[in-house]
Amino acid sequence: MYTQAMDIPDESGNPGGKKLSVVSAPQSEQEAAFEARIDADGRIEPQDWMPEAYRKTLVRQISQHAHSEVVGMLPEGNWISRAPSLKRKAILIAKVQDEGGHGLYLYSAAETLGTGRDEMIAGLLSGRAKYSSIFNYPTLNWADVGVIGWLVDGAAIMNQIPLCRCSYGPYARAMIRVCKEESFHQRQGYEALLVMMKGTEAQRRMVQDAVDRLWWKCLAMFGPPDADSPHSAQGMRWGIKRVSNDELRQKFIDATVPQAKVLGVTLPDPDLKWNEARGHHDYGQIDWQEFWNTVEGNGPCNKERLATRVKAHEDGRWVREAALAHARKQQARASKEAA
């Protein structure tokens, strides 16, 4: 899934509130080489020199993305035990497992920048690090699972396709794999909804209810309007961000409207209509006040999501300690034998 990372400063990020200059004047050979590689659309690799601010921005973005994958397991996991057929149960478990897998390789990509997984997870559990706000909304009926696949993963793909060309090599490569799996999830989600729409009236109501609740939240996933997006300019300059929030949002809406029509659901926006002159759909106002409330921790499920991550971590401590203790004992036994 996805994080609106570039736009959501962590409390840990950018210490001292120092402003990042958009185009910094190269001060050393190393910096000049870095800037030249960025200008030539080349890849930065872990062993390459990079400015500290670039490193920090990437650690923040990639770890937020990893946290989003891991927290994102919870709203969908909520329906595993109740999936209404064995086929859908298997698909859902595999999907949630994929999200966990994305979390793993994103943590690994971030580790190439010199920050350990434990440190990143500590940031999440303390509430310092952010994750995508879309996961702070409840999943209230089975159709939410399909709509998360169709719309949430759909929005994630819009955001992540450009990241496959991100200037930082390990992140770009991780995103190629993530995007392939997300497209698969999106098609699966849409297919599940198509089947439900051909079912009973109650099933069609479930699908519409899920779309009504999630549509606006998905539009907000692209982050604040470009005018209010503080990190975007530097991100664009560094080749970390490639397409602006508003452009991505528009692309998502234009792609989704015909899909909604085929599905037979209404998108809950009376202002949504085709604008011939722009060649795009016009759409209504996103409730940014509600979005920021949720980002700041006061959405419907923030406390439950975070507390659940904390509990899993605390409850699992003895397991991790056992694995470590066993490994140490084995090592000790091996060196004793060798001696």
Binding site: L86, R88, G100, L104, Q203, T308, A312, V319, Q330
Partner: protein
């Protein structure tokens, strides 16, 4: 060609779906991300096995039965799974008690069950019931991985810290008596043995004992003494826990009996 009676297929399928449901409860709550993925994998394998077995049973019974009618529209007393597999992922408590999940309970249960299934699937892959043999051959590969994963953790727990050792021993003490059910054939198993399509589980007992003894020795854990009550889940007489598990699993499907998913 001899075919296994449907009751026997349902016994195998119910085992897989019920444990698949329990293992999936860890999804999003594992002690470390790698274990979240591993348990999801085990659960997926088990649900896959259940689907194949239910499909086979449905095709053979006719009358419009499907994998989902068998999984979702039979009541708890019709379920033929081992009682061991329906127990919650925590220590011994009554049906309506609430408790935190305990990873030692989950791992020890997976260990005791997969140690049986590597032997049973291995035997069943030679069954003259070709459909069952094919499912067994596929499931054997999966069960080997499940056993490897669980035994590895049993050793880590036993050898790890004082706390992990105590938790693993407590889980063994709690769960071991339920394995007695493995060795007392049900009417369905007797019929399956008589059909020639299945093996007598009692012939696998020595090999199972050996797997368990090896792992427990490496883990420095003690095999509990077992006496008294022998559970009868596979004969439809379950613990207090199965109806809760099925209530949750079947609720949505039953609320929309005409739904298509």
């Amino acid at each position: 060609m001899s075919t296994a009676p449907n009751d026997y297929l349902l016994h195998l399928a119910d085992n897989a779906v019920v444990l698949g449901q329990r293992d999936a409860e860890w999804c999003g709550h594992g002690p470390i991300l790698e274990e979240d993925l591993a348990l999801a994998n085990v659960s997926l394998d088990l649900i896959g096995q259940a689907r194949l077995l239910y499909q086979l049973a449905a095709a053979r019974s006719g009358g419009g039965a499907t994998e989902d009618s068998l999984a979702y529209f039979r009541d708890d007393t019709a379920f033929r799974n081992y009682t061991l597999l329906e127990l919650p992922n925590h220590g011994a408590l009554v049906g309506y008690a609430a408790s935190d999940r305990d990873y030692a309970t989950t791992i020890v249960r997976n260990f005791l069950y997969s140690a049986l299934m590597v032997l049973l699937w291995d035997a069943l892959q030679k069954s003259p019931d070709a459909d069952l043999a094919a499912i067994a051959a596929k499931s054997l590969k999966e069960a080997r991985y499940h056993l490897h994963h669980a035994a590895d953790w049993v050793v880590k727990f036993g050898d790890g810290t004082e706390e992990s050792h105590a938790r693993a021993q407590a889980a063994l003490d709690h769960l071991f008596p339920y394995t007695e059910e493995f060795w007392t054939p049900s009417a369905a198993e007797d019929a399956a043995i008589a059909s020639g399509a299945a093996v007598d589980v009692r012939t696998l007992r020595a090999a199972w004992d050996a797997i368990v003894a090896d792992t427990l020795a490496e883990a420095t854990l003690k095999r509990p003494e077992v006496r008294g009550y022998v559970p009868e889940g596979k004969q439809g007489r379950h613990s207090e826990h199965l109806s809760y598990l099925l209530g949750e699993m079947q609720g949505l499907a039953r609320a929309h009996p005409d739904g298509t998913w």
